[in-house]
Symmetry: C2
Subunit: 477 residues, 2 copies
């Protein structure tokens, strides 16, 4: 369970500030968005919400946490947080509203994955933890989706634990990789915690623990006749294939089958083609060839183009660490604050880079479909609403106003998750999230194999944003 | 606490195999090594041992773990692990010997960071977890060391949580970054768990929560007069500096000081030079300029070359995820197995790539010094020993035999940590590990700013390895 102390210190110093100034219960709206699709791709897969729910349901500062905070000092030795503030923190319970996009949904830059509405102090304290959870799991679900797409429906097994970024870097990666489309993980704890299928047979050390490879394979088949996938590259790959076949023949005498062999080094295209021929010739057409060794979506595509005879893909480091883009650039921005008179005051942060100017308001994302195909996503302010015939300014081309093409269906993506701190949504099974991701990505890539998908601000929201930018730019002169 | 189920399933299927074949108590030796220095650098900083100690001291399968394992099935629906094996696992306690290199020590490819000696089944089960812990923390300690070197002794604060790889990806990164040389972290939980100094003041949301920047800065100074570092780039950076100065003047009237300003966007070199001039002219020569925004060792070097007036460095994503090389390639290989007659049987795994052929034996690393300067590291087999005048074959040029230059001191790096499952070493403070890393890296880089440091196999070990390779290569023909 994640502690509320898993936050940046400045969240606590700001919380103290809000409390001292009696702003802590002012109603605030924050949104968690990311700015760029990872991996130079054209989509991401939302992930991490269930972990966020666990975190929020257990969110409170323990006596031990408060004790730790009471010892912190400023640079000149003064106590950082006075006792009365710590007493307040100690009794604090989570009372925010949370709206979020379901896990496994395809999402795009600038779209709020989570909207947090509630007392300014609480909403501020959640920032770092929510970003930590959602950034990473969304990143890995997206990577997994890309790898599974490259494998064209053949099973991808996630094997990344040994080089993942710490114990939870492995555990959360296994969860997100499954939601993104992987078939199973090697991570036993992830299997137990998240109900993910687990897979695995043996390593090189099994082979080296015996006098020779034939003995090692025979021993493995003896103890695991119904789970026999043999790793053939400890000494000489093709000789290993022949040794595996000998074992396969003995398995058949007992009514079992050699399920597969695994290649873990060398030229995987060449070796798999040669191994396939040797296996087929010996009557082992059903024995699968599995490959591993720093695979990712690019290597898998390349192997397929070379005609590799591989039908199960073990993907480790590059998936579990998102090696070529190991962080999603999610941010968490204040977008509205309720005044004492009850009216909303919309907020944004300026930047020289347009993409870094945050969106004001209380936002929702409406996704339009035509014949089940994605048409466009429109961000709108829930107070301004959406006109019958919406128009929008695309995020990637904001100066032109785009009309919505024909559509026959639409849904609002942000769903109520918490109301005043109470969970109001039914927890989903991980298998349902995975199916959502597989189905939606497949549908999406039919029409958008590489193109940028249209996402924009509804015109009234766009105009409001421009007005606020102008006011802020004028004010500071 | 890390569960023993945080392992790859194949470790458990192999464990079951060893147990079925009555090999589970055969004494085995494994070594954990990495193959390449990360970040195209010429060293790494060992890290993660204390986390490994916690894991091993609590290593046992709970009733819940066993319950989960009992439900696993093979592809054709048979139970994977029979009851008697699970009963055995349930009562198993850690009884291995562990020797390891102290955290904060500088280390090189092929050097065992950990040597595991004990029952084959136990040593096998530890593989994935030990790799997960040590790979990541060593990676991050090394990255932190490089970033701190670039900062030339100026404080580096680790700010990576929000984009780290999951909650533990953040927590373990904060620990390793501190050991590698960082001065503090923003991660409050890491501060509490590991006794690391924590730092932080406010974010953009503090500024946007107020009517304007002047009000926001004045409010912050009011509530945190002795911890006042103001983030000046929410709307317009240099205007923000002037607003900070106004607040600084009021702080002085109360006997406090504006400690610093923080820049988080834009051209950091140009803005910091201009901000410095504005601060100095206003009499705020002591106010420090801190910078953040996707910094790493390369950006810091570049900023220093451009004359940036920055003296505190906030480094986040690129440090906590080791962005340009997000995984260390550590492996864990069986190198010796004791026969039933009590003699050791040395083991290795072949590969077409020389660097992937593992080293046989029961290894130790001896580091030689001359006048406190590093001379060379020699891997030797503890049974073969080291001659008075050792010779070695360098890992990066194995065919030539190198004589040891003059030296005046030597130490063996692997220290006894566990004996038969009992901890035999005193736990070190994290501050001692950090000092070790800072001191040793500084000393090392004097003589090896970029060059490859000589590491080799002691000649007798090298010859033994060649003999085993020849035997295996001949045997398989």
């Amino acid at each position: 369970m994640v502690s509320p102390l898993l936050t940046d210190l400045y969240q606590l110093t700001m919380a103290y500030g809000y409390w001292r100034l009696n702003m802590h219960n002012q109603e605030a709206v924050f949104h968690l968005i990311f700015r760029n699709n990872p991996f130079r791709g054209n989509y991401a897969v939302a992930c991490g919400l269930d972990t966020v729910i666990d975190f929020l349901q257990n969110w409170h500062f323990s006596a031990e946490d408060i004790q730790y905070l009471s010892k912190l000092k400023t640079g000149n030795g003064e106590i950082l947080f006075p006792r009365d503030f710590l007493d307040y923190l100690g009794q604090l319970r989570f009372t925010c509203d949370i709206d979020a996009i379901a896990e496994g949904t395809i999402v795009f830059p600038q779209e709020p994955l989570i909207r947090i509405t509630g007392p300014l102090l609480q909403a501020q304290l959640l920032e770092s933890t929510l970003l930590n959870i959602v950034n990473f799991q969304t990143l890995i679900a997206t990577k997994a989706s890309r790898v599974c797409e490259a494998a064209k429906g053949e099973p991808v097994l996630e094997f990344g634990m040994r080089r993942a970024q710490g114990p939870d870097g492995a555990l959360a990666a296994s969860r997100a990789a499954y939601i993104g489309g992987c078939s199973a993980t090697s991570n036993v704890l992830a299997g137990k915690e998240f109900d993910i299928p687990v897979r695995g047979t043996h390593a090189h050390s099994w082979v080296t623990a015996f006098a020779d490879e034939e003995t090692a394979f025979a021993a493995y088949a003896k103890v695991m006749p119904h789970n026999c996938v043999l790793l053939v590259d400890t000494y000489d790959t093709l000789l290993g294939v022949r040794h595996a076949i000998e074992v396969g023949k003995k398995l058949r005498e007992q009514g079992a089958e050699l399920l597969g062999i695994r290649l873990d080094s060398g030229d995987l295209a060449k070796l798999s083609i040669e191994a396939r021929a040797i296996l087929d010739e010996a009557g082992f057409q059903q024995t699968k060839i599995m490959a591993s060794n720093t695979l990712d979506e690019y290597v898998i595509q390349d192997l397929k183009q070379q005609g590799a005879c591989i039908s199960v893909w073990g993907v480790g480091t590059h998936l579990a660490t998102a090696y070529d883009c190991p962080a999603l650039d999610g941010v968490y921005k204040l977008s509205a604050l309720r005044d004492q008179d009850g009216s909303w005051n919309y907020k944004l942060k300026l930047s020289e880079q347009a993409i870094k100017i945050s969106n004001p308001g209380i936002l929702q994302v409406r996704r339009f479909f035509s014949d089940d195909a994605h048409v466009m996503d429109v961000l709108y302010d829930t107070q301004l609403g959406v006109p019958e015939v919406p128009e929008m300014h695309r995020v990637d081309a904001p100066t032109t106003r785009a009309k919505l093409p024909d559509y026959d269906a639409s849904i609002d993506l942000l769903l109520p998750v918490f109301r005043q701190g109470e969970l109001v949504i039914e927890r989903e099974s991980i298998h349902k999230m995975r199916k959502r991701a597989l189905d939606e990505v497949k549908q999406f890539l039919k029409n958008y194999p590489k193109e940028v998908y249209p996402v924009g601000l509804e015109t009234h929201l766009y105009e409001l944003k421009q007005k606020l930018i102008n006011e802020l730019t004028t004010a500071k002169r």
